[in-house]
Amino acid sequence: MRRETQNILLLLLGGALCKIAWNGSYLRYVKPSVLPFLVSAGMVILALGLISIGRDVLTGRDAADQHDHAGRSPWLLVLPVLAIFLVAPPALGADTVARSARTLAPHQPSVRFPALPAGPAPALPMSDFVTRAVWDDAGSVNGRQVRLVGFIVHGGNTTYLGRLVISCCAADATPVKVRLEGRTGLAYLPQDGWYEVRGQVVPGSARSNTRFTPTLTVSDLHQIPTPHEPYEY
């Protein structure tokens, strides 16, 4: 590949990183704290491309003898550029939750659970809710209405509310899910549609025989737009 083509590719690649950082879609792929590194990397890649182009133009280097012996591998850099600019893959969703047969209990926290926030129906992260339902012997979620935000996952004859927890990037996503019950028409909710669900846990439903998936008796639910931060951290 010629040197000038490589420089153009670098501009495209740096531009792609800056673009997802600018419009916030980087949150589909990595956790929020990566942002400064992402912006710096995009800027450095842009700068390396620009410096190289500028130097070639200023010195009037002949394009014909600019073969860089990097082989054909740089062509692969076109793929992430095209993926980001043209396709912009969405955040992981129901397919990942359905694919994962992870039957292990969530990690047992080493500290005691704090009391739920006050109010009639506090909003809880899905991962917090599931961990409490599995491990909290004091039963802090029993008998309380809570609000959860997630997407719909249909599996077998059951409808779940799912969410993905990431620790670095979407490649390490761990699913959490809650079985929805107590309303008709749950089976007709759109797969991957985002909902805020209000309901109450069925005590003792998150045991090994249910693969540590608690059941939520739904009292109310409504569709919401895809949240800015699609993952929990």
């Binding site: 590949m1 153009i8 740089p74 396709v87 969405p90 955040a91 292990l104 990690h107 490649a171």
Partner: protein, 356 residues
């Protein structure tokens, strides 16, 4: 109508022939235009859930690794421009075997993941560091740097021994592989292009070298720095993308029931978790959290996962094949895999107290 062509001087034939030849720039433009035209079709293909999941994982791996790769190529450029081979030779012990532990400890100073250490260790080789020492650095840097150790401590709050075991396992993997290379490694296994010193081929192309009087002395170091970083970024970036593609495909294809079958299985867990570390290609700063989330799996297989992952995974194999050649990667990666499992099990037995 034929008049203009006959009027052209004979000398321009060569240049017009060159203009007519298709260059990579035109190919790139054609690819971009075609992709733009086919955007609708592309999006339709990606509407299959499994393909969409793979595409997201692919972009995620690339986006997450790119900052580390950029850090690596900047360090590589700095070494090429400002650290003379002579200075490195003075710092390192004279024999390869003695240089290996020094290089392994030096790995603690590069706070990145494995994508950063490949270009740096190749640059070290080009600057005259013995390959055995550079390889020890390659294996140690992503696994024992402070960021990774702190992440491990955070991920395993109830198990401080995990940090010590990970350090011991990864460091001994790096040292054993370094010494094995010093004893049995052959220079011809590493592709010649990997060992070529950057300043000479670059210098031939640099106008600053042709007209020495026109540039300040500091200017040429800056030129070497930016040109080396740019070249390393372009060449290893492609291989990072290849690794990301493989990791995304395996992420979708590997059955999740693998994980589920491991609850309480220590002996079966060791090879399965080692293979998982290779195919998942997680960043070494994130793998501890994934290992911690597999709370049903005993600690020892999870330690194997943490030691094997930063030393050998599909993304790293692609990067190594790009930097040092396929002949190198096909020998080094399987050997590292075996050594890493052995070191991890040994460290686990010593620090964690056996199979638990």
């Amino acid at each position: 109508m034929a008049a203009p062509t006959t009027e052209q001087p004979a000398g321009s034939d060569a240049s017009s022939a060159r203009w007519r030849r298709i260059t990579s720039l035109e190919v790139l433009c054609a690819v971009l235009v075609l992709a733009l035209l086919a955007q609708g079709a592309l999006i339709q293909i990606l509407d299959i859930p499994a393909v969409r999941t793979g595409a997201t994982v692919f972009v995620a791996v690339c986006v997450q690794a790119m900052p580390f790769l950029v850090l690596g190529v900047l360090v590589s450029g700095l070494i090429a421009a400002f650290v003379s081979p002579l200075a490195l030779r003075r710092v390192l012990p004279a024999t390869s075997a003695a240089a290996v532990p020094v290089a392994g400890l030096a790995g603690m100073a590069l706070p990145g993941c494995e994508c950063a250490s490949v270009p740096v260790s190749r640059r070290l080789m080009q600057q005259g560091v013995p390959p055995a020492a550079a390889l020890a650095f390659l294996l140690a840097a992503p696994a024992v740097n402070p960021v990774v150790l702190v992440a491990t401590a955070v991920a395993f709050p109830g198990e401080p021994r995990m940090v010590a075991a990970r350090f011991l396992g990864s460091m001994s993997t790096a040292l054993v592989m370094g010494w094995l290379w010093a004893r049995f490694g052959r220079p011809e296994w590493i592709a010649q292009r990997a060992l070529r010193h950057p300043q000479r081929p670059l210098g031939q192309r640099l106008p600053g070298q042709r007209l020495p009087g026109q540039r300040l002395p500091g200017h040429s170091a800056w030129v070497v720095f930016t040109d080396t970083a740019r070249h390393d970024l372009v060449s290893s970036g492609g291989f990072l993308v290849l690794g990301g593609l493989t990791a995304a495909a395996l992420n979708v294809l590997v059955p999740a029931s693998w994980m589920a079958s491991l609850t309480g299985q220590a002996l079966l867990g060791i090879p399965v978790m080692a293979l998982l570390a290779v195919v998942l290609a997680l960043c070494s700063e994130a793998d501890a959290f994934v290992a911690a989330s597999l709370s049903g799996v005993p600690l020892l297989p999870r330690l194997v996962f943490l030691v094997v992952g930063p030393a050998v995974d599909v993304k790293l194999i692609a990067l190594q094949a790009g930097a040092f050649g396929r002949g190198f990667a096909s020998r080094f990666a399987p050997m590292t895999f075996v050594v890493a499992i052995g070191c991890a099990v040994l460290a686990g037995v010593l620090v964690l107290g056996g199979l638990q």
